[in-house]
C-alpha cells in the first residue's frame, strides 16, 4: 500500500487548484494518475488549436484505414465522462459511451486502438441499429 496521501478528502479544493493552474497554461490536456485513481482535464476541441502555434501543430497523420463504430441496438446514446474528442488517440479496446435501451447500459467500444477522426452523434441522441457514432482511424501507426 502506498504512503502517498489520497486524492479524496480535500478533493474539491485540489480540483479547483488544478483547474486554475490548467487554464493559465497552453496545455490542452492534463492527466494525473495516482494509486489507481485518475484525473483528467481537457480543453474543448474547438478551443484547442488556438493555444498552439503553427510550428507546434503536429502534422496530421494520414488516415489510411477509417472504420465506423456503429450502434448495434436502438436506444439513447450517452458519452462516457470525460467525453472523447476528435483527435483522441486510444490504445486497446476502449469504451467511448453507451446506448441505454430498456434501462440497460450497452457499452459502445472502439474494438481496438486508433484515433477518433469524427464524432457523429451527440449526447442524448436517439439512435437506431447501424447508426454511425464514431469514425476511427485504424492506420498503421495503431
Amino acid at each position: 500500500m502506498s504512503d502517498a496521501p489520497p486524492l479524496n478528502g480535500s478533493i474539491a479544493g485540489r480540483v479547483r487548484d488544478l483547474v486554475e493552474t490548467f487554464v493559465q497554461t497552453d496545455l490542452v490536456r492534463l492527466r494525473i494518475e495516482r494509486d489507481g485513481e485518475e484525473f483528467e482535464i481537457r480543453r474543448p476541441a474547438a478551443a484547442g488549436p488556438q493555444f498552439l502555434t503553427q510550428a507546434e501543430t503536429p502534422a496530421p497523420v494520414a488516415a489510411v484505414n477509417i472504420e465506423t463504430v456503429r450502434a448495434d441496438l436502438v436506444g439513447i446514446f450517452h458519452f462516457l465522462r470525460p467525453s472523447p474528442i476528435e483527435g483522441d488517440v486510444l490504445d486497446g479496446d476502449r469504451e467511448l459511451g453507451y446506448v441505454e435501451a430498456l434501462g440497460i447500459r450497452n457499452p459502445v467500444r472502439t474494438h481496438g486502438p486508433g484515433r477518433i477522426v469524427s464524432i457523429l452523434c451527440a449526447d442524448g441522441d436517439a439512435v437506431d441499429y447501424g447508426r454511425p457514432l464514431f469514425e476511427m482511424d485504424r492506420g498503421r501507426h495503431f
Partner: protein, 468 residues
C-alpha cells in the same frame, strides 16, 4: 433513422381527446403502408421500423419517423422485440400496431407492450395466448360448442406425432400452433412420412414464429376454406363482417385468390358460420379485429383456427362492407365502443383479391428476389391496389414474396371477375416472375367462374399444367 412531418395540425386537439398520439408500425411492406394510411387519416403520427434490407422501402419513406431495428434476417429485425420496444419508447409511441405475421400473434410481445405502458393494437395477451395458439384455440372452441376437426393438442415429440397419425388415420395435417399463412404446415399422406414432415414443419415454424410447436388434425379432403371476419370492442359488443372464401390455395396452403362473399354458400351454412364466430368471440371475451377460419365440406363445418390480427385479405371485406378495418382496430384499442350493431352492417356487391407475389408459377411458385425494373399498377373504377413496391424497388430474399394485392369490386361476382381480369392485364412488373399469369389462368377456368372450387382446385390445375 429518418423523420418527416405529415400529420395535419388540425387534428391535434381531437387526437389528444380520442385516439393515440403516435403509433409504431411493427411490420413492413404493404401492410405497414396500409396501417400508416389509416393512422394518417386519423391524424395519428407514425413510426416505421425497418431492416437494413428495407432501408429504401416505401413504408419507411411514408412514416413520420423511421428506425432501423436490425439486419435483413427476420429474427434479428422484425422479430427483434427489445429493439422494437426500445424504438417505441425513445420515440414516445403510445401504441404498436403489429400488422399480420411477425409478432402479430405473439402473446408475450403484447404483454411486454403492456408492461411498458404501450397499447398493443390487438386483443389482450391472454386471449392471444388462448386463440392465437392454434391447438389451445381448438380446445377452447370445443368448450364453446363449436365443431372442430378431429386432432391432437400440442405434440411433445415426433414419436407422439407418429402415434397420433396412426390413431387419427392418414392423411393428417401437421400445423404450427403459432402459425398462419401456411407456414409450418405439412400434409402427411403416409405414416412413414411423419418424421420428415415433423422435422421440416417444426423448423419452418421456429424460423417464422420463434415457436416450433406443432399439433395434428385429420385432413379433410378438398374442403372449402371459408373464414369469418369479426370486430369486437372491450365492452362485449361483437359483430361479424361476413365471410371470405379463401379456397384458392397453393399446395403449400398459402392463399392466392380470396373473395367476399363466398360464392354458392347455402344460406343455412353461412348463418351457422357467422353465429359460431360470434359465439366463439363472446366465449373468450375477444376484442379487436379477428378472423375465424373454418373448413366447409358439404353440410359439415369445422373450426380450424382463429387469427387474432388483421388478415392479408381484409380488403375484400372492406370493399363489400365499406368499413376501414384498420381504423376500427385502432379505435377499439384506444378504448372506443363499436358504435354500431349487426343490423347496421350490410354487405353490398362482390370483391375479389389476387395476390401478386414474386414467385415462379411455372416452378411450383418458387420465391423470387431481385430488383424491379418497371412497375405499372392498374386503376379505374372498382380497383384497389395495396402495395409498397414501385419501379426500382428491390424484393429482398428474407421476406414473404407478396408484392401487391390487387382488389376488384363489382355489383355482382361476374362484374368483379371481369374487372379483375382487366386489371391484371393492365399490370406490369418487370424484374422478377410473378403470379399474375397464374391468377389470370385461374380466373379463366369454368370451375372458378362457376364458384364451385375448393382447396384442391389450384393443385389440380397445376398438375394438369393449366397453371404454371
Amino acid at each position: 433513422m429518418a423523420t418527416r412531418s405529415t400529420t395535419d395540425a388540425r387534428f391535434s386537439k381531437w387526437i389528444e381527446a380520442a385516439i393515440f398520439r403516435k403509433v409504431l408500425i411493427a411490420n413492413r411492406s404493404e401492410i405497414a403502408l396500409r396501417i400508416n394510411r389509416a393512422c394518417q387519416e386519423l391524424g395519428v403520427r407514425t413510426v416505421a421500423i425497418f431492416s437494413e434490407a428495407d432501408r429504401t422501402s416505401l413504408h419507411v419513406r411514408q412514416a413520420d419517423e423511421a428506425f432501423c431495428v436490425g439486419p435483413g434476417p427476420v429474427p434479428r429485425s422484425y422479430l427483434n422485440i427489445p429493439n422494437i420496444i426500445s424504438t417505441a419508447l425513445v420515440t414516445k409511441c403510445d401504441a404498436i400496431h403489429p400488422g399480420y405475421g411477425f409478432l402479430s400473434e405473439n402473446a408475450r410481445f403484447a404483454s411486454i407492450c403492456a408492461d411498458h405502458g404501450i397499447a398493443f393494437i390487438g386483443p389482450k395477451p391472454h386471449v392471444i395466448a388462448a386463440m392465437g395458439d392454434k391447438a389451445t384455440a381448438k380446445r377452447v372452441m370445443k368448450d364453446a360448442g363449436v365443431a372442430t376437426t378431429p386432432g391432437t393438442d400440442i405434440l411433445a415429440s415426433v414419436d407422439e406425432a407418429r402415434r397420433a397419425a396412426k390413431k387419427i388415420g392418414c392423411p393428417v395435417l401437421l400445423k404450427a400452433t403459432a402459425g398462419g399463412g401456411g407456414k409450418g404446415m405439412r400434409v402427411v399422406e403416409k405414416l412413414e412420412d411423419v418424421e420428415r414432415a415433423y422435422a421440416s414443419a417444426t423448423a419452418e415454424a421456429e424460423a417464422s414464429f420463434k415457436d416450433g410447436r406443432l399439433y395434428m388434425e385429420k385432413l379433410i379432403v378438398d374442403p372449402r376454406h371459408i373464414e369469418v371476419q369479426v370486430l369486437a370492442d372491450s365492452f362485449g359488443n361483437v359483430v361479424h363482417l361476413g365471410e371470405r372464401d379463401c379456397s384458392v390455395q397453393k399446395p403449400s396452403h398459402q392463399k392466392l385468390i380470396e373473395e367476399a362473399p363466398a360464392p354458392n354458400l347455402p344460406p343455412k351454412t353461412r348463418k351457422a358460420l357467422h353465429d359460431m364466430a360470434i359465439k366463439a368471440c363472446k366465449h373468450v371475451g375477444y376484442s379487436n379485429a379477428g378472423t375465424l377460419e373454418f373448413l366447409v365440406s358439404g353440410d359439415d363445418t369445422y373450426f380450424m383456427e382463429m387469427n387474432t390480427r388483421i388478415q392479408v385479405e381484409h380488403p375484400v371485406t372492406e370493399m363489400v362492407y365499406g368499413i376501414d378495418l384498420v381504423k376500427e382496430q385502432i379505435r377499439i384499442a384506444a378504448g372506443e365502443t363499436l358504435g354500431y350493431t349487426q343490423s347496421d352492417l350490410v354487405a353490398r356487391g362482390h370483391a375479389i383479391e389476387c395476390r401478386i407475389n414474386a414467385e415462379d408459377s411455372r416452378n411450383n411458385f418458387a420465391p423470387q428476389a431481385g430488383t424491379l425494373a418497371k412497375v405499372v399498377f392498374p386503376g379505374g373504377p372498382g380497383i384497389r391496389v395495396d402495395t409498397a413496391i414501385c419501379s426500382g424497388s428491390s424484393v429482398p430474399p428474407y421476406y414473404d414474396s407478396m408484392m401487391a394485392k390487387v382488389v376488384a369490386y363489382g355489383d355482382t361476382r361476374d362484374a368483379a371477375i371481369a374487372r379483375m381480369d382487366r386489371a391484371l392485364r393492365e399490370t406490369v412488373i418487370e424484374g422478377v416472375n410473378t403470379t399474375i399469369s397464374a391468377c389470370l389462368d385461374i380466373l379463366g377456368t369454368h370451375e372458378f367462374r362457376s364458384g364451385g372450387y375448393n382447396i384442391g382446385f389450384l393443385p389440380r390445375l397445376m398438375a394438369a399444367s393449366v397453371v404454371g
